[in-house]
């Protein structure tokens, strides 16, 4: 089966004054359709760097990343933005939502950016919000939502343009245990239902049973538990 996300011997170094630190060292990973992978590791181990490179926000020093069979090497910033818009979904830790857009508009914005016809966008947004249990909330502003609801809106927005891969950066960090479980369960269900791949960086041990694989970032590479 063709992997949705393929990371091949990615190395990333940063210059810190005179010295050079290698944060990622020949890291490789493949995630297939319908698979949810959790990535863990202590603070400073390089999780954010890994997610940024896999999510086309940062270019690796060497190695290659391919999303749904398309290699990112050599793409310009414009092409990368286009790819993030259409082939990648992001869920960030917090401050995910645009404060002045109502719940449904958060979804319509990304559809509009991607050029989806508005009728279709409206239908898809309604269906996604329904699945996330947010039907009653679609005309709310983010400041009127609970933490769990906000993250569910972020999930719905991430799925809006049917991306190939979803990246989540500690999506449960600001939630209590129960809400955290709900959020990850929803991610897992969508991954299965739509046949997409997902990578989630997390510190939260309680959500691990919901993931298909759990990996640890150690010495710049990913290892199985």
């Amino acid at each position: 089966m063709k992997p949705m996300l393929k990371i091949d011997e990615v190395t990333r170094t940063f210059h810190d004054g005179d010295s050079e630190i290698t944060v990622l060292n020949k890291l490789s990973l493949q995630v297939g359709a319908g698979e949810l992978v959790a990535v863990m590791g202590p603070s400073g181990s390089g999780k954010s760097t890994f997610l940024s490179i896999a999510g086309a926000l940062l270019t690796p020093t060497s190695g290659e990343v391919a999303i749904d069979g398309v290699s990112l090497s050599g793409m310009g910033s414009h092409e990368l933005a286009e790819l993030r818009l259409k082939r990648i979904g992001f869920i960030f830790q917090s401050a995910n939502l645009i404060p002045y857009l109502k719940v449904k508009e958060q979804l319509l914005l990304v559809a509009q950016l991607a050029g989806m016809p508005s009728g279709e966008a409206s239908k898809r947004a309604a269906a996604l919000l329904d699945r996330m249990g947010l039907k009653q909330r679609q005309n709310y502003y983010p400041d009127k939502l609970s933490g769990g609801e906000k993250q569910r809106v972020a999930i719905a927005r991430a799925w809006m343009n049917s991306p190939a891969v979803l990246f989540a950066d500690e999506p449960t960090a600001s939630l209590d245990a129960e809400r955290g479980q709900d959020v990850v369960r929803m991610i897992a269900e969508e991954v299965k239902a739509e046949g997409k791949a997902a990578v989630m960086v997390t510190h939260d041990e309680r959500v691990l049973p919901l993931c298909d694989r759990v990996l640890y970032l150690k010495n710049g590479a990913l290892v199985e538990a």
Binding site: S48, L51, S52, G55, L57, L58, H78, A81, E82, L83, R84, L85, K86, I88, F90, F92, Q93, S94, A95, N96, I98, P99, Y100, L101, E105, L109, V110, Q112, L113, A114, Y141, R157, D169, A173, S174
Partner: protein
Amino acid sequence: MYLALREIRFAKTRYVMIVMIMLLISFLVLFVTGLAKGLAYANASSVKNMAASHFVLQKDSDHRFGRSQLTEEALTTARTVVGDDKATPLNLRMATVTEKGMSLKSDVTLFAIDMTGWLAPKVVEGQGIANDTQGQVLVDRKLKESGIQVGSTLIDQMTGASWTVSGFVANESYSHTPSVFMNEQDWLKLQSFTPVSGQDSSDKTYNAIALKASEDQLAQLRAKLPDSDIISKSDTVSAVPGYKEEQGSLLMMIAFLYIISAMVLAVFFFVITIQKIGQFGILKAIGAKTGYLARNVIGQVLLLSIGSLAVSLGLIRLMYEALPASMPFQLDSSTILLSCSLFIITAVLGSLLSVYKVARTDALDAIGRTAA
């Protein structure tokens, strides 16, 4: 504009306040511009009202009517070039007049013109005068405020010459003094009171010749009258005593208003943009392009500045109605258009700093951010 409009909808109070500030600035810009224009007109309306395209003045007269002296031959030459009815002579001099039996003095500018020609002003009250009437003048309506009426007698302080007010004209002044119009006959009489040495007072001289001429004719005339300057009406206006100085100060004020508004708006939008850097990072991470975000920032500025301009134009209108007549205010549509476009350009320039900030925002900021 999707984001721009929704942001305004969400943060109404904040944007109402921004619009208020922009409103005040644009109102001030328009108001001072209107005053400058009004003063400009009030200063030299007599020259501005003349239907002439150009004026012939003596060489080295610094474009000033009062310093120029032309002979009858110059007039004849001008008439042969542009045609009899397209060149008409004009004399003027500043004077202080008192109304007979009163002690109140007024500074005026005396004009001598052909009362049947195209320099003759329109009478708004009383009777006009002809070229053969004697001792009659038309005066600007502003003199009414000094108690002068149709039939009043004006006495020139220097010569003792006196004239009867035959009628009033509107908006006629020169160097901020009301204009008084008389025919050539009365002018010659006045001149005879103050003979110029070495000159026969019966010799006709003119301060200037007003022309309606084409470029071709001007070139011909310049060749035929080497001892004269032929200058456009607007150059003549700028040379009216005090005109340039007054307009210079006002222009300076307007220029500073534009600079201040550019800075205030730049700071305003920059502060707002800084607060939104996190959002811009998220938007870029999920695939919004810098151009899209920049368009929203500029679109918002355009919307706000056009909105506040519209309101301030309304206020200017109300203000205009309420202003006393003694406060000259003039704002024609081309000036409004120019001021408004300048204001909008200023606002957009002010927002460029924000656009730069947006362009510099890194999508990477969205990852690994702990709180917000």
